[in-house]
């Protein structure tokens, strides 16, 4: 299949990821951090290796600040529900995924309120919108690094600086950017970085990451066995144990480790440039097809990721996606992409979009074929 559904999860994965998972299941399938035998210690080493490599890729201060979660949604829930308390207020952007919106809606019943700061193509206006949304009781700003629907990036460095001025914690949802855009926590105002392991980091599904870059750690949402301080009935306060109760996803984390190494070896800056070049080419080709409607400007390295949303006039996005799958063997995602706020911002909430996302494995020939297929359908 010609795969352009990389915004949902990347495919294919690097062979090293598959090899690591296979090897872990065959050779090191013991419970990490629980026992003292060689297999268990080796399993612990695999997980620690992933922490070290992830911390290095994102400029995290210490490997223990890297928390493994089930996915990006779990990481975001940990921050949102672990930080906000009754009476607190949060600010989010108008491009947020339901992974942010739904936990906040849920927490309204517990006395949390939140405001939405509108995204604008004018960066100053976006910053002003965030500034105006801040209240005296604002405790947390949560902002996607790039829209999972339209690919536009938010100025997270400036939003983070604003948060520093107002002494507000800042959480970035990097689900669509981690691995595809350079991110360094060492010189940023980001307190919490949440991301999926299975998208731009090329790990398997069922892996997510929360990197904590502040002393203000969230409460743990899940308590239980950590293989540490077992006499205590209290959840350990040390990282990463505080957030990693229960047996971890060892094969998944072993695969993720190789994905992170793959990204590091290719360099996120170079990955970004290559993906943006292909996305620009795809955008130009689609833009030249009569009847194709695009919603964001042509992708640019500093302002976008390689995500393109479009529609064909007079055709339902679901039908277009189905036809691409059945007739052209092309994989895309259609609909609202779990981000209704973003669709409301771009006035596509009544029809959704077809979304094509480039990965490090996408080729120019695939882009050409994709555009040719759309030309035939339009």
């Amino acid at each position: 299949m010609i795969y352009f559904d990389n915004g949902a999860t990347t495919f294919p994965k690097p062979p090293s990821v598959i090899r690591a998972m296979n090897q872990t299941m065959r050779l090191y399938g013991a419970n990490p951090g629980r026992s003292g035998h060689k297999m268990s210690l080796k399993a612990s080493e695999l997980i620690y290796d992933c922490r070290v490599n992830t911390a290095k890729l994102f400029g995290a201060e210490k490997p223990e600040n890297v928390i493994f979660t089930q996915n990006c949604t779990a990481a975001l829930n940990t921050v949102i529900k672990g930080i906000l308390k009754s009476g607190d207020h949060a600010v989010i952007s108008s491009l947020e995924h339901n992974a942010v919106v739904r936990p906040l809606e849920f927490m309204k019943k517990q006395g949390i309120s939140f405001s939405v700061a509108d995204f604008s193509f004018d960066e100053e206006e976006t910053i002003n919108n965030f500034r105006e949304a801040i209240r005296p009781n604002t405790r947390l700003v949560i902002c996607t690094h790039a829209s999972n629907v339209f690919g536009v990036r938010l100025p997270v460095e400036r939003i983070g600086a604003l948060c520093r001025i107002y002494e507000i914690l800042f959480c970035v949802d990097a689900a669509q950017t981690a691995g595809a855009v350079p991110v360094s926590l060492s010189d940023s105002c980001i307190d919490f970085l949440c991301t999926a392991g299975h998208k731009g980091l090329y790990g398997p599904m069922g892996t997510g990451i929360l990197i904590i870059n502040t002393e203000n750690t969230p409460q743990s949402l899940i308590q239980g066995g950590t293989g540490s301080l077992s006499l205590s009935r209290e959840q350990p306060d040390i990282l990463p144990d505080k957030y990693e109760s229960g047996t971890p996803n060892l094969p998944g984390i072993a695969g993720l480790c190789e994905g992170v190494k793959f990204v590091a070896s290719r360099d996120p800056e170079r990955i970004m440039k290559a993906e943006i070049r292909l996305a620009q080419n795809l955008y130009e080709r689609l833009n030249n097809i009569p009847g194709v409607e695009l919603y964001a400007p042509k992708p640019e390295g500093t302002k976008s990721v390689a995500v393109i949303s479009f529609n064909i006039n007079g055709k339902d996005c679901e039908d277009v996606a189905m036809t691409l799958s059945e007739r052209c063997n092309i994989a895309v995602r259609s609909g609202l992409h779990c981000a209704p706020l973003a669709h409301q911002s771009f006035k596509t909430d009544d029809k959704g979009t077809v979304r094509a996302v480039v990965s490090a494995f996408t080729t120019q020939a695939q882009v050409n074929y994709f555009a040719d297929c759309i030309k035939r359908l339009a």
Binding site: G33, T226, G227, L229, L231, L239
Partner: protein
Amino acid sequence: MDNLIIFGSMTPALRARDILKNAGIHSKLVRTPSKPGKKNCGYSLAVDSNIDKAVSLIKEKRIPFSGTAAADHS
């Protein structure tokens, strides 16, 4: 007789091991041995020399550890 540096959990123990390795101090990760009436889960680093320097490095890096003990191999 080795010297043990005792950690509450695996991750700080592994980080400490890497720091000691970079400083030229060899250590081995082991399960913390139980003592009568004082059983708890955890891991330790067995250090065969330079225990004072090892402890000093670990403190300098602010890695949490719960103490040191003599490891009995008898």
